[in-house]
Symmetry: C2
């Protein structure tokens, strides 16, 4: 179970693995540095979902997950005993460390660019694996285990998707993450989403006229990230 | 460029690779059999995104894609000449066959279960790779190349996400695919989405009372798929 003093789990999902152009990697890096300066490096964990992709869930995951779900909420330590066959055991061995890591984190910091209106496949592979049935519910009380976890999402999108823009109904990134983490049991006031918009304004001829807005959005995002990093 | 007589590209993304419980694999299989009976097997291609995952896009994809995008619409056959270094070349070698396959298909049949409110990571990995800048736009006319392509999405979701249900605003599967394929240039009347809902009603205690609705939804989906398969 998580508490406010847990470690920082820093997760990046931008395809720009070397961080040459990635806005999200730069901003999560800023947050992480600030956090380490205040808390030291011991409570810091980093996961690069592109450098080390989370394997796609397979038949064994579905089989084990379905069996567990039929029983209601199964405590994490009793799941292994329900696995049938080598494939389910292998899937669980891939899943348990990621689930445990998420449950134990005090703060989860996610770098999430928008790709094709949604979150990157790299992040979705992590989501599809960590979202094991019942893993974030207290088996005794039925209450969410992530109720004390702080989630900071640093998002970026190449265009503009805000309310009133022509693409407002193509935003399957931020609304998606709100729905997903809400379902996982993260408290609404513990979920912080910062987004830099129009980050491709310098690359895409059609967006060139929005370069001023893009710069403003980036500055606002940097300030928001700095503010969040300075809080406990 | 695609035409109505092109081949059938059948793409599955359910984690249940052996198809033991997957609704989408069963229904896309039904469509594909019917199609092959009418057209023969020669024009049929199958892609299992779980058995053979599409590698995540990386820095080389971003670098090449950005360079191409700055130039406007670059014809597919001229992209290779713009690649700089082995990493970009490798990324393009992974991308071109998938892009070409999608461009040349007459009908694209996709099996898409809902995982954690969205499309499976396996499908998103394909989407993130095939959506190369400019690849579906005619460089001369600027018109969409997929204007004549028929897309049949066979979707499934474990719960109920229809209008009026408590989870209606958690559906990031069907609205997402509509937005994505619309952006790609697929005509609205050529995009057919069939969805079986409440497919987990038999597994999840909380959904047990919806088993009747689930059976109705499945029957309706089967009929819709059979109807679509019988059309040209």
């Amino acid at each position: 179970m998580s508490d406010g003093n847990g470690f920082l789990l820093h997760v990046d999902s931008s395809a720009d693995r070397r961080g040459e152009v990635s806005v999200t990697r730069r901003l999560t890096g800023m947050f992480a540095r600030s956090w380490r300066e205040r808390h030291g490096g011991a409570g810091y964990r980093y996961r690069d979902l592109v450098a080390e992709p989370v394997p796609l869930v397979g038949s064994g995951y579905v089989g084990l997950g379905t069996r567990v779900e039929r029983q209601g909420v199964v405590p994490l330590e009793k799941v292994a005993a329900l696995a049938e066959g080598a494939e389910e055991e292998r899937e669980w061995a891939l899943t348990l460390p990621l689930v445990s890591e998420l449950r134990e984190a005090g703060t989860v910091l996610l770098g999430v660019p928008m790709y094709n209106f949604g979150v990157p496949a790299a992040l979705k592979a992590w989501i599809d694996r960590v979202s094991f049935p019942g893993a974030y519910t207290d088996p005794d009380s039925g209450r969410p285990l992530l109720g004390g976890t702080r989630v900071v999402v640093v998002a970026a999108c190449g265009g503009g998707y805000g309310p009133g823009t022509p693409r407002a109904d193509c935003d399957f990134q931020v609304p998606y993450l709100r729905a997903y983490f809400g379902e996982l049991g993260v408290a609404e006031d513990a979920l912080h989403i910062v987004r830099a918009e129009l980050t491709r304004a310098g690359d895409m001829p059609g967006l060139a006229r929005f370069q001023g807005l893009a710069a403003e959005s980036l500055t606002a995002a940097e300030e928001a990230v700095a503010g969040l990093a300075a809080r406990p």
